[in-house]
């Protein structure tokens, strides 16, 4: 109940903040104060707020619980992506002035036919990214209120759609910046309180030693569906009042909705598909299990490191920076803010392994952040802390999915719709109406997919969105910004190749079922290691062969020439307070 109230408060707060965000500034001189109030820190918090999604808030801790420390590579990659953005993309892109990715592609390559392709990829990436957000929402509401899975999906889809369609994303910089700090608060406070309560990490043998996770006290588990469970060691559990002793290494089907009692100190059985690990293998960063094979880890790192720059909803946030210099400053601050946030999910994974090992049996590792406080510390404090993490998780879904939906609806209403109707010139009111309709239409497919994709880990779903971004827009940005020879045909061929290979591998991997034991299996699960180089090679190769390639010298100048070559009158003036003596002119 408290959790539901906290979620409601966060949701209403988000909606209200948008309305309140830009308020009237009475005098003219306040305008300059107001416009300069969007400092690099505000911008950085806004970008981080939009970026930190369900994958960061719930997914990483869940994956860590399940796979071990190797899952933390994901948080590393999520952060390091901004390093790539800082080094290669942020400042030139801001100087170029483009708002959306299709804007950039069209203007840099100077061909209008490539715009629909870029728009299609934006839709693909945003759609892929939206599914795990909705999935997480369904899961979170299920944990908090025991409502069916689809209720949460539908609720968040509806809230986000209404918010975006009625134009609730005004003052988005402030709203997202506040959201960021809500998330940091919601994830850090429970983590710190729990660590203090337990006096550091308990059960170190299961984390770093040779122990398997054992029940910290008598656990009573009710499975949502009959589950095949693997018993790593001989254990005696009580099912519906009858004792059952199972030998180590065997697999048993446990019934649904019957209380299963696991006595204190008993090694907890794990759902089939999850590898039982001792503390030593669990805490190994690479190579502990097949899921942390070096190929998979590197592929994931490449996807996240290079994929961040291709996320459509993130790049539009950079538009608020006044110039390339400010864009760099903002990105450095984003790195530090994300670094701060990502310290905490790791704590939940580790505590969850010791304090809520029943999640290994239920297979709902993604809910560890939500369940841990209540399970670890029964009573008012645990309930309050649980409400806090639930509210933070909702802030994460709302902000990221709103940003994604704005990108999706904008692309559909600006690029797809006019093409379908064969008309480009429509007035403001028509464009606004189209945007609203597009927002509603765009939510349908991801919501349906989220209902289907219930069994796939959030972090893995998000990894795919990153893989597609890394195999399409990343080579386009890197070559488009740093190589004059990139031709439109080359860029198109590379993006199509990257998108096709990445998507095809992901779906093939899905169809064959998650066996990642071999290198091929790992690459099917996370194809970036293959698809990114192929996209680069195709782009360079086709561009070199393309004799019609246009040297984009004007575009290059716009990308790389420092600002201030032109007259920056306003900036000089801003720095001089009104009291100073007459200006020398």
């Amino acid at each position: 109940m408290i959790a539901l109230a906290a979620i409601g408060a966060v949701t209403l707060g988000t909606l209200g903040l948008g309305a309140w965000g830009v308020r009237f500034v009475r005098t003219t001189s306040d305008l300059l104060v107001a416009s300069r109030a969007v400092t690099a820190w505000w911008n950085a918090a806004a970008i981080s707020g939009e970026y930190l999604s369900a994958a960061s808030f719930l997914g990483i801790a869940g994956l860590e619980l399940q796979l071990g420390a190797s899952a933390l590579w994901q948080s590393l990659g999520f952060t390091a992506g901004y390093l790539a953005l800082l080094l290669f993309v942020a400042a030139p892109l801001r100087r170029f002035g483009s708002y959306t990715i299709p804007d950039f592609v069209e203007a840099r390559l100077n061909r209008s036919w490539i715009r629909p392709l870029a728009s299609a990829i934006v839709i693909l990436i945003s759609g892929f990214y939206l599914v795990p957000q909705l999935k997480a929402a369904g899961l979170a509401l299920q944990v908090v209120t025991a409502a069916p899975y689809w209720v949460g999906v539908a609720a968040v889809a509806a809230i986000v759609t209404i918010n975006v369609a009625i134009g609730g994303m005004r003052g988005i910089t402030y709203v997202q910046a506040v959201q960021f700090w809500i998330k940091v608060f919601a994830i850090s406070v429970p983590a710190c309180v729990l660590l203090i309560h337990f006096g550091g990490l308990p059960g170190r043998a299961a984390l770093f030693g040779d122990q398997l996770p054992r029940a910290p006290h008598t656990l009573v588990v009710r499975l949502p569906a009959a589950t095949r469970a693997q018993f790593p060691q001989t254990a005696t559990i009580e099912i519906g009042g009858r004792d059952l002793t199972v030998a180590g290494g065997t697999v048993r089907t446990l019934p649904a909705r019957v209380p299963i009692v696991i006595g204190r100190g008993t090694v907890v059985p794990v759902a089939e598909g999850t590898t039982p690990q001792t503390g030593a293998t669990w805490s190994r960063a690479v190579g502990g299990t097949s899921e942390s094979s070096p190929v998979l880890v590197y592929s994931l790192l490449i996807a996240t490191f290079l994929g961040t720059m291709g996320l459509p909803h993130i790049l539009v946030r950079f538009y608020t920076n006044p110039d390339g210099h400010a864009a760099r400053h903002t990105t450095v601050r984003v790195l530090s803010l994300l670094g701060l946030f990502y310290t905490f999910p790791a704590v939940y994974g580790a505590l969850g392994r010791v304090l809520t090992p029943q999640l290994y049996l239920t297979g709902q590792a993604d809910s560890v952040v939500l369940e841990l406080p209540r399970a670890a510390w029964p009573g008012t404090v645990g309930t309050l802390l649980g409400a806090l993490t639930a509210a933070g998780a909702f802030a994460a879904f709302l902000s990221t999915s709103s940003g994604l939906l704005v990108s999706l609806a904008g692309t559909i209403s600006h690029d797809v719709w006019p093409r379908l109707r064969r008309e480009r010139q429509a007035g403001m009111s028509v464009r606004r109406l189209r945007f609203r309709v597009a927002a509603i239409v765009a939510m349908v497919a991801p919501a349906l997919l989220a209902l289907v994709a219930r069994s796939i880990d959030i972090a893995i779903l998000v990894g795919w969105a990153f893989a597609i971004a890394a195999s399409t827009f990343c080579p386009m940005f890197l070559l488009g910004i740093w190589w004059t020879g990139l031709s439109a045909r080359g860029a198109a061929a590379g993006m199509v190749a990257g998108a096709t290979i990445a998507t095809a591998s992901i779906f093939t991997g899905l169809t064959l079922g998650g066996g990642q034991a071999t290198i091929i299996g790992a690459l099917l699960a996370q194809p970036a290691l293959v698809s990114v180089p192929i996209a680069f090679v195709v782009m360079v190769g086709v561009s070199l062969r393309d004799r019609e390639s246009v040297r984009g010298s004007d575009a290059m100048l716009a990308l790389h020439a420092p600002e201030g070559l032109g007259l920056r009158l306003a900036e000089d003036d801003l720095d001089v307070p009104a009291e100073v003596a007459p200006r020398r002119m």
């Binding site: 416009s35 002035g97 708002y99 003052g171 464009r431 899905l510």
Partner: protein, 391 residues
């Protein structure tokens, strides 16, 4: 999991079925005429983007090969009034540029083709025997010549000559389009010049008079205002780029308003509400200030007091700027007149023309006004448009 699998299998089946159908269907036969037509059309369209940039050595070099395909000549050259721009045709490099120019010089008439059927080349084995000289004429003025060279002892067929003539007309038409585009850009610049010339007299007089009023009562204030005034003019007459960021333009509006405040004092109430996300949008220089000046002139000046509001909204990929005044207002006919350029006011018409020249007819100004209830002028612009760049 099963559902995903089902969807995938269904999708794959459908895709295979479509592919199979396409394979089974008999291939469409393309006749040789159709093929020739296609090739010609392709060559013609391939010249378009290059010639749209005007006649230069670069654009000529990119198009001359296609022109050769179109004319079916041995070699084709594009010549302007002074030099040979480009040349296509293998094995004829031994002809010096001077020869081409001399040949082009033989075309004396601007309005018709000329056939030179006796060309004697001293180079051994040179097959060229005749040439068609087609003038390229843009707006009645000759800008160059298209030379098409043919082999053979016989006279040229009329068809060959006519083809060269048609190709020359095509090139001329494309060059005329390029000229038109360049002209509309010049026009936009000229309009900015016109605006600069006409905004100020009224305002300059009032501002200077107001400053004069302060010189005795508060010299410090007067000095500040004069500084503002100097900066105001510096911005208005800067000349590098016709575009500025909204932040720069607002800064300028602020200076303008401070000078107006010197006149009206507290009787002029100004409210601003601009989303920080739109401050980096790029718009034609001096396009917001005339709207504000208009609001002050019609909304405040006549009554001696009033309120002006400037609102900037972030709407997806667009920016919406509104300037509102609570002044006398006007009826819809007059508003329509102003926007269409038939009205007496130059300021708004000029802004509308420049906005639409930069962003197309989907963007620009809208006036919403009721007599006695005030006026709202709404300006919409995209957050990004290729080629529109500040400073």
């Amino acid at each position: 999991m099963e559902v995903i699998l089902g969807v995938l299998v269904g999708w794959a089946t459908a895709a295979s079925a479509i592919a199979a159908l396409r394979l089974i269907r008999p291939p469409r036969v393309i006749s040789s005429e159709q093929r020739a037509m296609q090739e010609a059309l392709h060559a013609a369209t391939a010249t378009l983007p290059h010639l749209r940039q005007g006649l230069s050595a670069e654009s000529a070099a990119r198009t001359v090969g296609h022109l050769r395909t179109l004319t079916q000549a041995l070699a084709v050259a594009l010549v302007d009034r002074e030099r040979v721009l480009a040349f296509a045709g293998d094995g004829f490099e031994h002809h010096a540029d001077a020869e081409w120019l001399e040949l082009a010089g033989r075309a004396t008439r601007d309005d018709r083709l000329q056939v030179e059927s006796r060309i004697a080349c001293s180079h051994p084995g040179c097959p060229i025997a005749s040439a068609v000289l087609a003038p390229l004429v843009v707006r009645g003025e000759r800008v160059g010549t298209l030379l098409a060279l043919f082999a053979g002892a016989w006279r040229l067929t009329p068809e060959e000559t006519r083809t060269v003539g048609d190709v020359a007309s095509l090139v001329s038409a494309e060059l005329a389009l390029a000229e038109l585009e360049a002209q509309s850009e010049r026009l936009a610049r000229a309009e900015l010049q016109a605006l600069r010339a006409q905004i100020s007299p009224h305002f300059v007089y009032n501002a200077l008079a107001a400053i004069a009023g302060y010189i005795h009562s508060s010299p410090e204030e007067a000095r500040e205002l004069l500084t503002e005034f100097a900066e105001f003019t510096r911005y208005a007459f800067r000349g590098r780029s016709p575009y500025v960021t909204l932040a720069d333009e607002l800064n300028y509006v602020e200076k303008y308003l401070r000078l107006e405040r010197a006149r009206f004092g507290d009787r002029l109430e100004v409210r601003l509400q601009v989303a920080p996300e739109v401050l980096n949008a790029v718009l034609p220089m001096l396009s917001l200030q005339p709207l504000v000046e208009n609001a002050v002139r019609h909304g405040v000046e006549r009554r001696g007091r009033g309120r002006v509001e400037i609102i900037g909204r972030d709407i997806d990929a667009d920016v919406e700027l509104q300037v509102y005044d609570d002044g006398v207002g006007m009826d819809n006919d007059r508003a329509a007149e102003i926007l269409s350029g038939r009205g007496s006011g130059v300021g708004l018409t000029n802004v509308q023309a420049r906005l639409q020249a930069a962003f197309g007819p989907a963007y620009g100004l809208e006036i919403d006004s009721t007599p006695g209830r005030g006026t709202t002028v709404t300006m919409t612009l995209p957050k990004f448009r290729a080629g529109v760049r500040a400073a």
